[in-house]
């Protein structure tokens, strides 16, 4: 696989799963407070 493709895969996972984790964390934090 090319470096571009690997970089794009990492970028996709970081944005999508990182974003999801961040908003889930905020939701859990808001619920527990």
């Amino acid at each position: 696989m090319s470096l571009e493709a690997i970089a794009f895969a990492i970028f996709g996972f970081l944005i999508l799963y990182g974003g999801l984790a961040y908003f889930l964390y905020r939701a859990i934090k808001a619920r527990s407070s």
Binding site: M1, A5, F8, A9, L16, L20, R26, A30
Partner: protein, 294 residues
């Protein structure tokens, strides 16, 4: 599987020149609208079941990101399989890639047939999961119609579901004909491309231009942790309307130049008729005096 990495390369390697192609944008809109079940009434129906104080802004981010995250992950399985199929049949990935119904019912069965070991077992598992995916999607699709019928005419859930399923069964009989796959492809294309974008455009115009948008934003901000600024009003009123209208016009113009899938114009008129019929039925049901009207 050999060739899978070539499929992933095809899936992940960016080609930024495609960003200038309006067809990519309208395909992306169609995909995300369908995936998020936007402009189908599903979000409105499900939204009405939320507790009154639900955090709308945060929930929207979670739903959007979760949907895209899972789609991105599934893409690895799909393109890995297609890469293997290209390797097994000694062709390029581009030649085996298909979209819509062609992917699920033509390309994937062929690809699964090539898998060494237990292709029949893998195919059975694939189609079982496809049936479950179809059933769970149909629950949400049917719910948007049944909840509207129940609210409008104050009928029982059983009666509403039976009515919708009976009509759906009769309407779906056309797909059992020899040309069923072609009908499905044409109707799927028109509903998912034009239908969804058109309905979304009309919904955005109705909400942004004929509804008190600041009061809606105030309500969202009151119950949400993440606050929405004035940019949201501007985005809905101008940006979303401009983008959706431009994409719709460009795609209609493109289809007039070169008909979708090289079908005849007569066949494509069926797709347009299905959209018009849907709008007509909605208008007739809306105009009818419901039992909830005082």
């Amino acid at each position: 599987m050999p060739g899978a990495l070539d499929g992933l390369e095809w899936y992940l390697r960016p080609d930024f020149s495609k960003l200038g192609d309006y067809k990519i944008w309208i395909a992306a809109f169609g995909q995300i609208f369908f995936s998020l079940s936007l402009a189908m009434g599903i979000m409105i129906a499900y939204g009405s079941y939320l507790p009154e104080k639900s955090d709308i802004a945060n929930n929207s981010f979670i739903v959007g990101l979760a949907d895209s995250a899972f789609s991105f992950l599934i893409g690895f399985a799909v393109f890995g399989t297609l890469g293997y199929m290209a390797f097994a049949t000694n062709t390029s990935v581009q030649e085996v890639v298909a979209g819509g119904v062609g992917l699920a019912f033509v390309v994937f069965p062929q690809a699964l047939n090539l898998i060494p070991g237990f292709p029949n077992l893998v195919a059975a598992i694939f189609f079982l999961t496809l049936i479950i995916a179809g059933l769970t999607s149909s629950i949400s699709l049917v719910e948007s119609v049944t909840s509207s019928l129940m609210d409008k005419f104050k009928i029982s859930r059983t009666r509403a579901v039976n009515t919708v399923f009976a009509l759906g069964f009769l309407g779906s009989l056309v797909y059992t004909t020899t040309a069923g796959l072609y009908w499905l492809d044409i109707i799927d294309h028109f509903i998912n491309y034009y239908g969804l974008v058109l309905v979304a455009l009309l919904e955005v115009i109705a909400v942004a231009w004929f509804f008190n948008l600041p009061s809606l934003r105030d309500h969202i901000n009151t119950i949400s942790e993440i606050k929405i600024g004035r940019w949201w009003d501007w985005s809905l009123k101008y940006a979303t309307v401009a983008v959706l209208a431009s994409l719709l016009i460009l795609d209609i113009w493109g289809n007039l130049q070169k008909p979708y899938g090289d079908y005849s114009i007569d066949a494509l008129c069926v797709g347009i008729l299905v959209i018009l019929l849907g709008m007509l039925v909605s208008a007739v049901i809306t105009a009818r005096r419901g039992k909830d009207v005082a």
